[in-house]
């Protein structure tokens, strides 16, 4: 019996013109998204390579490691980030590494190229969020009341059909009818990626599979919701209207509003204030050190030897610099921690509110899975900080000191031929290697939202079940 109901539902959906049209549109959209994402990755990758090459080129011709300045590292584009962009275009990508001090990423893609910010990008997260939910609503808004209007519901129950089997069959049938055909363009899309030369690693495929799975959970949530509402109402036109309003709120309004609300409710100290505090401390420390420098006297016995004198001076400057750095670090750590704690509270409030909407839960889950969630910013920052230490170690080995971004010009007034120096090889600088947030970490973060989505499925299903149990089929 159960199989028969599923079969009927499958036939009804797949045989309809509505299905042909919407499936065509969805398939085109999904394929377009994969294609555009792949091409977009290529463009970003080219830009990234150009930036790295230009960074090395600007150092060529230098003869002294001391002269090295403006060493920059960049956030490399991730293959999956083109499919689920998350915040990857909003956060700063370029970090100037000085060897000390705080790292700060600048130049987000949208800030650099605001024309992309006008309409933003087309990605899988967006297409799934809007299209899958509309798709589900369109096919299930009249699941119960439509059959009643047509009189087929009464007819079905003239036979010995158990209601629980009927509703379960309806939902399963509709889900299969929508999900399985959708797999076709998705799989085709997956084939497009390697064809476009997007280097997908083994890990990436797992992530993509999980994203698609999340998409189906999301589809299920809207499907069960539609059946639920159609079992609550008598007329299909009112259930459609109600669902459309719910859709607008769930997809477009609730996520945005909850973040803005949380932003107003939870105060986070502004970065301007922090920057000013840091600048003031830096200026103060510099003034103190200037007077210390003025009092510097080289040891009597090396007065005759400029090289030794220079060395001693360097050591002295290095010591001052290290002390300054330590004090700055202490302040920065305190300020950052303060800010990060407040940010965490804000995030919890914002996302807690937003999760009322399945669309928000879906978006949070997928961006987490791909590694383009809010955590990306901190993760990149940590990676850059780690790299800064590697770089500092390297520079110390090369020059014996860390200048921390100062411009030093050494003039020799005394005569004597200046030794012709060999140019440095910038390629000796250890390269920055970025590793995405590991899957096991992101899975933990995504689990909450996957759970929320599953919960939505369950609640709406139980709701549909209960409502249908008492539904007047006449």
């Amino acid at each position: 019996m159960f199989k028969l109901i599923i079969e009927k539902e499958l036939r009804e959906i797949i045989g309809s013109t509505k299905f042909a049209l919407t499936f065509g549109v969805c398939a085109v959209l999904i394929l377009l998204t994969f294609y555009v994402g792949g091409r977009n990755y290529q463009v970003s990758h080219k830009q990234y390579e150009a930036a790295v090459a230009e960074n090395l080129r600007q150092m060529e011709g230098l003869t002294d490691w001391m002269m090295l300045r403006n060493h920059r590292i960049f956030l490399p584009p991730q293959p999956l980030a083109a499919l689920v962009t998350g915040v990857s275009n909003d956060i700063g990508r370029n970090v100037e590494v000085r060897g000390r001090g705080e790292v700060g990423a600048e130049d987000s893609r949208y800030g650099d190229d605001p024309i992309f910010a006008v309409f933003r990008f087309l990605d899988l997260d967006f297409v799934f969020q809007i299209v899958l939910s509309l798709f589900a609503i369109l096919f299930a808004y009249d699941a119960i009341n439509g059959e009643k209007e047509r009189g087929t519901l009464r007819l079905s129950f003239a036979n010995a059909v158990p209601r629980d089997k009927y509703i379960l069959g309806k939902i399963t049938g509709a889900f299969l009818a929508l999900a399985i055909p959708l797999l076709i363009p998705i799989l085709l899309g997956c084939i497009i990626l390697p064809l476009l030369g997007v280097p997908m690693a083994g890990d990436d495929w797992t992530r993509l599979a999980l994203v698609i799975l999340t998409g189906f959970l999301y589809l299920g949530a809207f499907l069960t919701l539609s059946v639920f509402i159609s079992a609550l109402t008598q007329r299909s036109s009112s259930s459609f209207l109600l669902l459309l309003v719910v859709w607008i709120f769930a997809v477009l309004i609730v996520p945005r509003t909850s973040v803005l609300l949380a932003g107003r409710a939870v105060k986070v100290p502004s970065l301007d204030e922090h920057a000013s505090q840091r600048a003031r401390l830096a200026a103060q420390l510099w003034q103190e050190d200037r007077s210390k420098m003025a009092e510097f006297k080289p040891a009597e016995d090396i007065r005759e030897n400029p090289e030794k004198m220079m060395n001693e001076f360097n050591t002295f400057m290095q010591k001052l610099g290290d002390e300054r750095e330590q004090k700055m670090q202490a302040l920065s750590t305190r300020l950052n921690e303060e800010r990060r704690n407040r940010e965490a509270v804000r995030e919890r409030v914002a996302f807690g509110l937003a999760r009322i909407s399945p669309a928000a839960a879906f978006s949070l889950a997928t961006t987490n899975l791909v590694g383009t969630s809010l955590d990306l910013k901190q993760h990149y920052r940590n990676a850059a900080t780690d790299y800064q230490q590697t770089y500092a170690k390297f520079m110390k080995e090369k020059t014996g000191m860390l200048l921390g971004g100062f411009r030093v010009m050494a003039f020799r007034h005394t005569d004597g031929p200046e030794a012709k120096k060999e140019p440095i090889n910038p390629r000796e600088i250890p390269p920055f290697v970025y590793a995405a947030i590991p899957l096991k970490d992101v899975f933990g973060a995504a689990l909450v939202d996957l759970g929320v989505l599953a919960l939505f499925n369950l609640i709406f299903f139980v709701g549909a079940y209960a409502a249908f149990w008492r539904y007047d089929v006449r």
Binding site: R39, G92, P114, L241, L244, S363, K377
Partner: protein, 488 residues
């Protein structure tokens, strides 16, 4: 006759339960968007004032004219309440000093990234996405729905001219939908007044044009819905077709157009430009270093054969002149670097303009993009906001640096920080000449770029014209189709 038909249409819209639900939703959303916008604007103004005050304080506490670091913040504009545009995406501030080039950095989305996760809600978003959907919802079955209900056949059994009928449909639904929507809009404007948002005359002009554009956009989707309903026999089909068109117009074409343009026109990134800039800067500094080294050697050579005392006297006599000369050289170099940077940025900007032209031309196939572009231009939160601010800051930088330079000369500081290592005297470190606070009373003030109504309206004319054209075409199509529509 026309009057009766319009009346009938009005009644059927206003009395439907559909109207109550959608009107309530729209009203709520419009008010919500304006309210949120006002709150955000006030918060932004507060942040801006605090930041500017901090900069002033930091400047006052600075002790040397040489390293004087000014910061220019982008001033919030009340129009961002209705059209946030790229306001959150582009940088909020730029450093202004001798060395750094002008670059807007620390955008709201990059510093407070949480706001970027689900983006923003503003009036334009509501109109573009929600109102357009509702326009379709009310018109998709305008003609074929009546046919299905049998009322179309009934109507035309009387002597009703078809032209008048379709015109009345259009006017009736327009009045029935637009006029109620004006209520929450007016309430939103009252909110603006109530919260004392500083709206000047220009802002009101911009806002009323924006409202006009919004109504035009809404009208397009109504005309489009009617067109589709005259093209099809069944309302179920026309709804699906309209919905698919809506998805394409509102969600897909704008994005796809811009993304296609990025494929065709490649633009160097900031990172690439800065790399080039740094390379040039380094080579210039290196040249400068060599020049100065040569000069100092020549100066030393001139002192050959003098006694220690004579040397001291000679040095005292010439030191000032030497320093001035070195300083002049350094400034020349700085000028060269600036010129090179400007040229690089100019080139990149030209490429970007080309990309933008292509991107927006492709996107304009959708009325939704035309509307959004018009709205952004009107409010001044378009992609050009960045260049406008950068240009204004650039010219301010020139004035500011000249001022700081003049002041530094007057105070007699040599600038920089000189360490001398001499085999005779050991290491000598120059100390600051100027101590204590600076008098900044006559410092040049930054004037934010003005976005006048005249400047705002010019680029929107294309988009408004396009919107008008789209609407006209849709309506004409519906009109022609209906004249030959089989009413049975």
């Amino acid at each position: 006759m026309l009057g009766i038909l319009i009346q009938k249409e009005l009644k059927s819209i206003l009395l439907s339960p559909k109207f109550v639900a959608t009107f309530a939703t729209c009203a709520l959303l419009i008010l919500l968007s304006v309210f949120v916008g006002i709150q955000e604007y006030h918060a932004a103004v507060k942040q801006y004032d605090a930041a500017v005050q901090l900069v002033e304080q930091d400047l006052r506490e600075a002790s040397s004219w040489m390293g004087l670091n000014n910061k220019i913040y982008r001033r919030p504009d009340p129009m961002q309440i209705f059209v946030s545009g790229v306001n959150n995406d582009i940088g909020r501030l730029s450093s202004v000093n001798t060395f750094d080039t002008i670059k807007l950095r620390s955008s709201i989305y990059s510093t407070d990234t949480i706001f970027a996760v689900f983006r923003y809600i503003d009036f334009v978003f509501i109109v573009q996405v929600v109102l357009s959907l509702f326009a379709i919802l009310f018109t998709y079955d305008a003609v074929n729905g009546e046919r299905e209900a049998g009322t179309l056949q009934l109507t035309f059994s009387n002597a009703v001219p078809r032209a008048q009928y379709i015109l009345a449909k259009f006017i009736g639904s327009w009045l029935g939908l637009v006029i109620p929507l004006l209520i929450p809009v007016m309430l939103g404007l009252l909110l603006v007044l109530f919260y004392r948002v500083p709206f000047a005359g220009g802002h009101w002009a911009q806002l009323s044009t924006l409202l006009g554009a919004s109504i035009l956009f809404f009208t397009f989707f109504m005309a489009f819905g009617i067109l589709v309903s005259t093209l099809t026999r069944q309302s179920a089909v026309s709804f699906l077709v309209s919905l698919v068109a809506w998805i394409a117009f509102v969600l897909i074409i704008p994005r796809a157009g811009v993304m296609a343009a990025s494929q065709f026109v490649s633009v160097p990134t900031v990172a690439e430009i800065e790399g080039k800039q740094d390379g040039f800067e380094k080579s210039q500094w290196e040249k400068h270093r060599e020049d100065i080294q040569k000069k100092w050697r020549e100066r030393e050579a001139a002192m050959q054969g003098m006694s220690e005392k004579e040397r001291e006297a000679y040095r005292d006599e010439h030191e000032w002149e030497w320093l001035e000369q070195d300083d002049k050289d350094r400034k020349q170099m700085q000028k060269d670097i600036n010129a090179f940077t400007q040229q690089l940025q100019e080139e990149a900007r030209n490429r970007k303009a080309e990309q933008q032209r292509l991107a927006f031309t492709l996107s304009r196939f959708s009325p939704a993009s035309a509307y959004q572009l018009a709205a952004l231009n009107l409010a001044g939160t378009d992609a050009g906001l960045k260049t406008r601010y950068e240009d204004a800051t650039q010219s301010y930088r020139t004035a500011f640096n000249e001022y700081a330079d003049k002041k530094q000369k007057a105070s007699g500081g040599a600038g920089g920080f000189r360490i001398e290592i001499n085999s005779n005297t050991g290491i000598k470190i120059g100390n600051d000449r100027d101590k204590g606070t600076l008098d900044l009373s006559d410092m040049p003030k930054f004037t934010p770029p003005e976005h006048t109504y005249a400047a705002a309206i010019a680029p929107t004319l294309v988009d408004l014209g396009l919107l008008g054209l789209f609407t006209l075409a849709a309506f004409a199509g519906a009109f022609v189709r209906f004249l030959r529509y089989d009413v049975r």
